[in-house]
């Protein structure tokens, strides 16, 4: 496994490279699914509908972005659900109006997420506790804290946040879409840094990364902090969309974040993939919900389709990587 993150596996035939590039595959899937949606609902191609879709998808997309960072280092982060819940009640209990207040809330959300991520990172990177177990404990504690802040759904998010963050800016772009785009760009920059490269190196082979001078524990710690900040941003966007707080808001995001990561072509065993694929994967999942609703599927079965899609995405990813590696061997 090379140290350089190859999302497109050079040297394989173009058709194979297309399948091996998770982000591109997910993008193609999104466009096809959008076509299906447009067939059911002719209004699907309007800016208003697209803005709605982006508003729906943004919280999951940012949550999945954070999850991807941890998954790349061969970990799983369950604290995601707790962080989103805490941020959701924080936004509803302490609303701050106007642009300045909105910016301050956003910074506070990032800080809350980063702090929770630091606790997980401490347990996993420096105490060597298995990531699932440690983040499970952190998640439960966070759920409790969220209940202490607000013990039932309620409260009101600042109007500036709930209006401006779900609106169209510059006359053509959904604000939520721009936030997701900003995170994608930030990731593309991060990937080129020492920290970004070591995430892949740790995931691919921790021992080798340590031997070649990567400070494994410290870099892993920062992976959890960055991931936590992403969950904080996800909670912020969720508050903008729902305009109210819910101490259990994070739970539904847990499975969906893994499904987005898998759909976006990131290997759940670490070392391969990237955030961009997960962002698009999240958009695919939320669009699929819309399509199923439009097709008249009972809401009870939406969960079944999401669980099934998660497992199918993993199976597909496995087939592709097997095909790609047998292609390399030839």
């Amino acid at each position: 496994m090379s140290l350089v993150p190859n999302e497109s596996l050079p040297g394989t035939r173009p058709s194979r490279a297309l399948f091996a590039n998770g982000a591109l595959m997910a993008g193609v899937f999104y466009v096809v699914l959008y076509g299906v949606y447009a067939a059911y609902d002719p209004g699907a191609l309007s800016l208003a509908t697209f803005t709605d879709l982006m508003n729906n998808a943004a919280p999951l997309a940012l949550a999945a972005a954070g999850q991807t960072i941890v998954v790349l280092t061969r970990g799983f982060d369950l604290s995601l659900a707790g962080t989103i819940s805490i941020v959701s009640v924080f936004m509803a209990v302490f609303p701050m109006e106007d642009a300045g207040g909105g910016a301050a809330s956003f910074a506070a959300c990032l800080a809350i997420g980063g702090a929770i991520g630091a606790v997980s990172g401490l347990l996993v990177a420096f105490r060597g506790i298995q990531s699932i177990a440690a983040t499970l404990g952190v998640m439960i504690v966070c759920q409790g804290i969220a209940l202490l802040i607000l013990n039932a759904p309620g409260g009101a998010v600042a109007e500036w946040v709930s209006y401006e963050m779900t609106d169209v800016v510059f006359g053509f772009a959904p604000a939520s879409g721009l936030v997701v785009l900003a995170f994608a760009l930030a990731w593309l920059l991060l990937r080129k840094t020492d920290l970004g490269l070591s995430l892949y190196a740790i995931g691919a082979d921790e021992g080798a990364a340590g031997l070649s001078g990567v400070p494994v524990a410290r870099r892993r710690f920062w992976a959890y902090v960055l991931a936590g900040a992403c969950y904080g941003a996800a909670g912020f966007m969720l508050s903008a969309q729902t305009a109210t707080g819910d101490p259990n808001a994070g739970m539904p995001f847990l499975l969906l974040s893994f499904a987005s990561v898998a759909l976006g072509g990131t290997s759940l065993t670490g070392g391969q993939g990237g955030v961009v694929g997960s962002l698009i994967g999240a958009c695919v999942l939320m669009l699929m919900q819309k399509v199923l609703f439009a097709a008249g599927v009972s809401s009870f079965y939406i969960g079944a389709s999401q669980g099934a899609l998660l497992i199918l995405a993993i199976l597909f990813g496995r087939l592709v990587s097997r095909a790609a590696s047998s292609g390399d061997a030839k």
């Binding site: 699932i132 177990a133 409790g144 202490l148 199976l315 496995r318």
Partner: protein, 341 residues
């Protein structure tokens, strides 16, 4: 030389070294639980009686059954996040397929249990044959199961508890509550299966080292599938028991048991990485959690504090396991000694 003998040689020495630690954990947890019951009249005068102990044992019974399956899965190095949903499915199928009719109970109950075991086996196939990470596979299957159960009932649960289950959960056998007799029998069978059979030994072997187990000729795929099927079976059984206890199925009735099932195993001192643990320890872990829960419920703390406390207990147990607590004590002791001398 048989496979048995090759497996026996290395495990024996480690078991001797581990025995004292495991037994100490179990006895410590048991003593803590007993101490909490004894001290509970201080919190509320209504507590500390035989009826409190009976309530704790009743609550422990669901947890024990579900934790045995969870413990086996954790022993292989996995995690079963579908137990809550499978438990609900067990409850829903018990009330809809059997209902208040005791005539069909003995014929249909095995079918319901087999159904749950089948879902567990599906988890095992995904994990062992396809190589999907256990907690992803079980989370996916759990969501699908819950969603299908919701769709099947249309959002409202119908039907009543079968009379034999009511008798099991609320009746008496030879003067003792029948559920306690049943759970004691269950624990005996479960302990025997885990610690006294070749199946149990294979599970330990897979958990300590998959590669070594493969070389020693342990059938990894079929054993893993059996482990997950057992977990599904246990979850379904505890769902049926809960139906007998609360006289019907409710949606999401299994969810409150998912995290405690993991906590009971981990607090009992089994490694979350697999390969070590003992069902007796899980029993003590479950007793400890249920006693604590009953005390917290009586103390009038809100749901928020209760949740925080249960999370801290899990993190604490993990820190103890990772040697942090003993490390801190050791370094404090060193410093104290250094300051004195």
């Amino acid at each position: 030389m048989t496979v048995e003998a090759t497996l026996e040689a290395p495990t024996d020495t480690r078991r001797a070294a581990r025995f004292s630690g495991e037994a100490l954990t179990a006895m410590g947890l048991f003593a803590l639980s007993a101490g909490m019951v004894a001290a509970s009249p201080l919190i509320s005068p209504a507590l500390g009686s035989w009826s409190q102990i009976y309530t704790i044992l009743l609550l422990v019974s669901f947890l024990l059954v579900i934790s045995f399956g969870q413990g086996l899965v954790i022993l292989t190095g996995g995690l079963d996040l579908s137990v809550g949903s499978v438990m609900m499915l067990g409850g829903v199928l018990t009330t809809t397929w059997i209902g208040g009719d005791s005539a069909t109970f003995w014929g249909v109950m095995p079918v319901v249990l087999a159904f749950g075991a089948g879902i567990g086996a599906l988890n095992g196939i995904g994990v062992a044959m396809v190589g999907i990470p256990p907690f992803i596979m079980t989370m996916g299957v759990g969501i699908v199961t819950a969603s299908l159960a919701l769709g099947y009932t249309g959002g409202t649960t119908l039907g009543a508890a079968p009379p034999p289950l009511l008798l099991l959960m609320k009746g008496d056998i030879l003067g003792a509550p029948s559920v306690i007799v049943f759970v004691l029998l269950f624990c005996l069978v479960a302990w025997t299966l885990q610690s006294r059979t070749t199946f149990g030994r294979k599970v330990y072997a897979i958990g300590s080292s998959r590669r070594a187990a493969r070389i020693a000729g342990v059938p990894i795929v079929s054993t893993t599938i059996l482990v997950y099927a057992t977990s599904g079976l246990c979850a379904t059984l505890s769902g049926a028991m809960l139906v007998g206890y609360s006289n019907g199925a409710t949606l999401r009735m299994g969810d409150p048991y998912l995290l405690p099932s993991i906590a009971a195993v981990v607090v009992g001192g089994s490694s979350i990485l697999g390969g070590s643990g003992n069902f007796v320890n899980t029993i003590c872990g479950a007793l400890f959690l249920a006693t604590l829960e009953s005390l917290i419920a009586a103390s009038g703390l809100g749901q928020g504090w209760r949740t925080i406390l249960s999370g801290l207990i899990i993190v604490g147990a993990l820190l103890v396991q990772s040697g942090w607590i003993s490390g801190v004590f050791a370094s404090v002791a060193r410093r104290v000694r250094g300051a004195g001398g």
